[in-house]
Symmetry: C2
């Protein structure tokens, strides 16, 4: 019987000396493909990955410490793209407030288009090394980009002079809230997604708005 699983490569030629890295790349690619196909990281097994690449399970451990390291490596690749896409969306306009809104839209869209990496990066408990790596590395940079974007709104006088880090954290949690619930509960009777995202951005922007000083009976 020997179920053929699905791989094309029944067995792959052993890499030459010094070319071990090629297997590592192939493993990442195969894992990503399987994750997208199955829609869940738990659903892809070490054996399935090994089969897809045409190699035996233990050889995976020559390149990754364990399964979660492999999965995380795949997700971190997405994260780099994540940050750059958001930055690009933010740079597509000169108005800082509109820029922030576009960042928010891009964030949600990316999360919905890459639900499993998003889930792994932001919706599962991070511990130890992973926490440090992701948060201090690419994650830290991405968050700083958001803080800067908020600061620009403050500097432009569009937002009250709040603590930019606190405000940025609030913005992040807001867009994450929509993204993550849409991913987790696809069966909930959600309003139109675009309308919801726009509403969330509206609330955030209005909430951080400089209020017109009407209470003091300002002049002119």
């Amino acid at each position: 019987m020997t179920a053929v699983r699905e791989s094309a490569a029944k067995s792959r030629p052993r890499s030459r000396r010094g070319e071990g890295e090629t297997l590592r790349e192939d493993l990442l690619a195969a894992t990503e493909e399987l994750m997208i196909k199955t829609g869940s990281a738990d659903a892809v097994s070490i054996r399935a990955i090994a089969d897809a690449v045409g190699v035996t399970p233990p050889s995976i451990y020559l390149h990754f410490a364990d399964k979660s390291s492999l999965i995380l490596a795949v997700c971190e690749r997405h994260f780099e793209v994540f940050d750059s896409i958001i930055e690009e969306a933010g740079r597509s306009t000169g108005d800082p407030v509109e820029s922030l809104r576009r960042r928010g839209r891009a964030y949600v869209r990316f999360g919905l288009e890459n639900p499993e990496p998003y889930r792994i990066l932001f919706m599962t408990r991070a511990e130890g090394a992973r926490q440090y790596d992701v948060l201090v590395g690419a994650g830290g940079r991405a968050f700083q980009h958001l803080v800067d974007a908020v600061q620009r709104c403050i500097d432009a006088g569009a937002f009250r002079p709040v603590d930019a880090v606190l405000a940025a954290t609030g913005v992040w949690t807001a867009v994450h809230g929509v993204t993550s619930l849409l991913i987790s509960l696809p069966g909930f009777p959600w309003p139109d997604v675009d309308a919801l995202v726009d509403h969330v951005c509206d609330i955030e922007i209005r909430g951080l708005n400089e209020p017109v000083p009407e209470l003091q009976g300002g002049a002119s």
Copy 2:
């Protein structure tokens, strides 16, 4: 060797006729305890649960279809309490806006105090039966309670006359965003949690505020 695992009850007396439900209750209690102790539903195994109760693994399947049904049953119990705690917090004041703020605080606090049930209910992909049960049942009621709370703010003239369902959805995603990120990334350099939650509530409330009609130069 036979590792003793940890249970006290080495074996439990077989239930009498008609008392099968007692095992079901014991299973729920033991599972909840193990979930709290290990902090993760995956970390508690069918065998560990069976051991803790003093029974063999297959007997669990006489009371629950599979492991996830058992876990979900534990979480749904929490959900009932969740809703009632939020309702209670909301009723503790007459001011609808302050009431909404208290609901938000209670929501986040409950999530942080029961991270694993929260994770399972709101942070893992829900499918099929579970989706239907939780969303249409207790979840539907809880959400309706939130919509009502928002509507009261609108009726009181404290919020603009927005779509109450859309606004409630936004409020939910906002408090969920904080809760879920705090659970997932405990190592992130978060601001003070209370300050963050208050800030998120502030933004939401200000964002939904009735703007003083200064642009039209309103009368009186």
